[in-house]
């Protein structure tokens, strides 16, 4: 196995274009969280003042936030199910200029098309990786919409250091590893059902 492949935000088109489904990478640089509520709010009212998102990664995550000595500390920050954002993501990527989506479980064809059109990627992080992801995200840098949305749905900003491992499961060339696996498991299912 060769060394870790690290990509950095803001992502440029050359890097994005070089990423193919099945590649494993680690991501460093600025990244912000958004779940469905934050997506909807930003699509309605626009980005909050001071939040720069061009070329960054949007992370589908609702962290655990603990108050410690009057400060907010993130204690666990793994990914949430990305499919919930499927109807919102194409427009959000277009509006925000974010060029990587990080989450779990993969997304649908609307997002896959948007990734191809805009030059962006979907990166899968292992579900449930709360403790490990929290370590790699480091201390939180900014928070937006905390009052409006509460700590789980708010937009948290981090400077990640080698967040990962991340699997490129949807690339900017129209390929989806989720579709590829689903085709294989679909055939396996037909075979198993035949044998019942």
């Amino acid at each position: 196995m060769t060394g870790k492949r690290i990509i950095r935000t803001p992502l440029d088109q050359k890097t994005i274009g070089s990423l193919k489904i099945g590649d494993v990478v680690f991501l460093s640089g600025r990244i912000f969280t958004a779940r469905d509520q934050a997506h909807m709010l930003m699509l309605k009212d626009g980005l909050p003042p001071g939040l720069e998102t061009k070329g960054l990664a949007v992370y589908h995550c609702g962290p655990i936030v603990k108050q410690m000595n009057g400060e907010r500390v993130i204690t666990s920050a793994g990914p949430t199910t990305s499919m919930r954002m499927e109807s919102l993501e194409p427009e959000f990527l277009e509006m925000s200029g974010a060029r990587a989506v990080i989450g779990k479980g993969g997304m649908g064809h609307g997002t896959l098309k948007a990734l191809e059109k805009l030059g962006a990627v979907y990166l899968s992080i292992t579900g449930g990786l709360g403790a490990l992801a929290m370590k790699r995200l480091g201390p939180m840098k900014e928070v937006h919409f905390l009052e409006e949305l509460g700590p789980v749905e708010a937009v948290w900003v981090f400077d990640a250091e080698e967040l990962g491992p991340l699997v490129v499961t949807m690339d900017s060339h129209g390929n989806s590893l989720h579709d590829a696996v689903s085709a294989v498991t679909g055939e396996n299912l037909a075979r198993v059902l035949d044998g019942l």
Binding site: Q37, T75, T126, G128, V167, L189, V192
Partner: protein
Amino acid sequence: MNLAEILGRALGEAVIAMPDDLEQALRKARENETGELARMHLKAILDNIELARTDRVPVCEDTGIQTVFLDAGRDFPLLGELLAAIPEAVEKATKTGPLRPNTVDPFTGMNHGDNLGPGAPAINLTIVEGDGAAIHLLPKGGGSEQLSALWMLTPADGIKGLKREVLSHVQKAGGRPCPPVIIGLGIGGSADTCMKLAKRSLLRQLGSRNPDPNAAALEEELLESVNSLGVGPMGMGGKTTALAVNVEFAPRHPATFPVGLAMQCWCHRHVTIKLDRNGKAVP
């Protein structure tokens, strides 16, 4: 320690330290996998479990909806106190940190902030023999719960129909419930009974079999066929889609064939506290 303190501490521990049988099953799965991505996910999962235990932080940020199975002895004198202590413990564990506030009003979408509300925490009370109590805490994540299911099959569909539905469902779910999963199946009873049996079956030791030979045979067959689908860890292909299939059953009405499926992610958090008649924790 009072009852709320005992329960609060156990709840905190449940979301930080994973059960031994789960960790062993995940290690075994990792040894068994040959694919690079499957092995990578299982390594990340095992590293994460270790880090959470060392750093004393929740393994997964979704600490779930608080689900409680309470088996109270008919002569347990502190039932009222215990029923009051459960929400108190949940509220405190939410305010002080280990639990994420997860209960949201279904109409307004507003987060309650304390994981409380009508039916939350969900307490399933069973009265059993004796004068003590056993409290099983199951903080159940939303990503896997979203893939739970109920089928009201016909008796003609029967067990074969059940297999067809379960296998199709697991294939379609892919990586969304965070496989390798634990699948709880409740068969028979009514719609609500089979769902409750399915969820309760998740509390069983991994690798245990239902004492009934028909149920045990179904568990083994389904585990093998689910894993032959090739969904694999996080749905990226592999031999381990499920770590266990647990079947529980009840008599059914002759006109119905209810099947409930409780989907549980690899992050299978649960803990049991046993109390004596004085409310003291006992092994």
